[in-house]
Symmetry: C2
Subunit: 406 residues, 2 copies
């Protein structure tokens, strides 16, 4: 068993770096606070006798050797960076659970056949430098290194310069082919485990995602003198597209998701009919065909709505990730771990993107979810209990031992 108090203490110590007044964390990728978090993590790993490797995008790999020098590594990890209004658990729980596994193995003098490795991926959140999951994306070849180095934040600073500034551009070459199994513990960031009073989510994969930017262009005109039938009201179109997206998601239950998160109206005056609306669309599904069918239905709906309201439109894809089905053996290892520990558990699909979904494309991977309060994440009030966090860490230990001793 892992040590609940030690794990909790490490989570709380890490949360001091970038702590916000409202009890959350602001430790965005490649800032000096991120550097402090990385330094602390490395210091803790060195104290456990780990060797450290850092690759060209700043991913940190901390290694505890196994008995077989030729064996592939059993890896755990997640990320240390946070949203600007982030919580204490999103990311850190995965990384520090990996560290707690190593501390537990050391404490009990357990030798595994495979080496055990903990990874902290660079810039999972993508809030300062889009896109998200940048470190694991480059590591797995899903994202292109040079293109990512050139990405800039709102101040025009590149990833390349920010990485040098915190001195985390490494030269170690780490290959996905070294990985025997990758496990990522994470808070669920959704309400299902809490709703069903379940401690462990055995994550069998992640929803595919299609993101779009949509611009609707009509004609701005005075709200008073312009009769309803002579309007080209971009907001009328935007309202109908929002409803269409929601209807399409509801038509594709239980896995369909549809969200309009951003919308801006031009000119944005209370007595002017909006001549232009810009909005974002986020669609997700578990089945590749359903995701395609959803996006086709959306395209048809947008076309029809714009025709009817005399609007022009531009629908631009901004992200497109296929659903990820995790490796059966890894998923089984997690489920077995939960069973061995007598923890309530259920199979679950991740609605959010995670580093594990990129790793899963090139190596066996799975995830372990624990509940978070009210399903809330990316919010300073994000919260999880010591019991759930500890249970997730114990399942990680069990799953890693299952994988490492085979």
């Amino acid at each position: 068993r892992t040590d609940s108090d030690r794990l909790w203490q490490s989570l709380m110590d890490m949360a001091k770096l970038g702590a916000t007044a409202k009890g959350g964390v602001n430790r965005q990728a490649l800032t000096d606070l991120d550097r402090q978090g990385r330094d602390l993590f490395i210091q803790w790993c060195r104290a456990e006798g780990c060797t450290i490797r850092i690759d060209n995008i700043g991913n940190i790999f901390a290694r505890r050797e196994g008995s077989d020098p030729t064996a592939k590594t059993v890896m755990a990890g997640s990320h240390l960076d946070s949203q600007p209004t982030g919580g204490k658990y999103d990311g850190c729980f995965g990384v520090l659970s990996g560290l707690e596994v190593i501390r537990t193995l050391n404490e009990h003098n357990i030798t595994t056949q495979s080496p055990i490795e903990v990874v902290a991926w660079t810039n999972e959140e993508g809030c300062r430098f889009p896109p998200c999951m940048m470190g694991s994306g480059v590591f797995t070849g899903v994202l292109e290194f040079d293109a990512m180095m050139a990405r800039t934040d709102a101040d025009g600073i590149t990833v390349s310069d920010a990485l040098d500034a915190i001195r985390y551009r490494g030269s170690d070459e780490v290959s996905p082919s070294e990985i025997k199994a990758y496990f990522e513990p994470h808070i669920e960031q959704g309400p299902i485990l809490e709703d069903t009073d379940t401690t462990i989510g055995v994550v069998i994969g992640g929803l595919g995602q299609k993101w779009f930017d949509l611009t609707l262009t009509g004609l701005e005109a005075h709200a008073g003198p312009t009769p309803m039938n002579l309007r080209r009201d971009a907001m009328m179109g935007a309202a109908e597209v929002t409803q269409a997206l929601n209807r399409i998601a509801f038509d594709h239950q239980p896995h369909g998701r549809g969200t309009v998160g951003c919308m801006s109206l031009h000119p944005g005056s209370r007595n002017v009919i909006p001549g232009q609306v810009k909005m974002t669309l986020d669609m997700r599904h578990w089945e590749p065909e359903a995701l395609i069918s959803m996006s086709q239905s959306l395209a048809t709906a947008v076309e029809e709505i714009c025709q009817r309201h005399g609007l022009e439109y531009e629908l631009t894809p901004t992200a497109n990730f296929a659903p990820e089905h995790f490796n059966k053996a890894c998923v089984d290892a997690v489920r077995e771990g939960a069973k061995q520990l007598n923890l309530s558990h259920m199979d679950i699909i991740s609605g959010a993107g995670h580093d594990a979904m990129f790793v899963g494309r090139v190596a066996p991977a799975a995830m372990i979810f624990v509940p978070c309060k009210d399903g809330i994440s990316h919010n300073e009030i994000e919260s999880a209990t010591p019991e759930h966090v500890h249970a997730g860490c114990n399942v990680l230990l069990q799953a890693m031992l299952n994988a490492a001793s085979v």
Copy 2:
């Protein structure tokens, strides 16, 4: 007949003050550019032998005496202030048409029984200092003087200080009871005259207005892991309210109007379900009962939508003006004028609020509309033809003569 070239030249000269790169005008109320516009107008009026009165809110009255010292005044006017992205005609057309009437009477040595007076109302647009129609509102007692003096712009400057800064706080007492008839020429700001190829709109009144601020509050949550049926998506509610407002307006044709001009989503991130949406609602109608029925339908719809989506809401009225029916004799004078001049004309209802609608509450009033290109106003591309502008000014002359010589 008035002088088309002289009127046009005055419009173009006035449009130089605050001219924008895109051909529009930015001459907001109580700025130094507004002062320059007022100074120019007064200089032109003085050159025609007018006496000038300025009241406590800076409304300017330029008077050409009549033959009967006890007679009430026949007044024309509108406003000289503009939107930040305003056009050359909105407001100025009315004021400078009044001036052109005086110039024409002088040129032809015509003596009217009633005095002729031209008024430039302060802050019609309300964009720097809400609300709109401030000068005519104070003059007619619809708006309270002290409250208006305390209104501030975005920099915290009060109307009182701004009025002093441009030295347009007057001490002349001008009473609505002096007015025999008030005529306000204005561009239509809508598409109806152009659509029906009509030169003169005989404005029989103005739509009533009810404005609201609506805040919808749900729960912000991650767009991926949150199933559709567990969401409290404020944007879903906002989309449905937008549609309900439009449906209600369509159900109350031909006079109903419904517009959502502003909307802001919190937190406004593409993969976060909006926890809060703030939006504005603008409803208008010609019949008082219909306007009440519209706002009742809206309240019912908002209640039902919020119930269904688990949202809380706050629906706050921000403006409430009854429909204004103009004085029959004044309207007839405008219609007669158009007939006498053989101009195509139609009765029309103003969809926008105008100073005439406040004046009409306390004195006989009517308006004269001319077409503007594509019905566009509050936009730098606002445009009107010299022919239409001249026709409107001739109708004003005719209507004023009809009223002044009786």
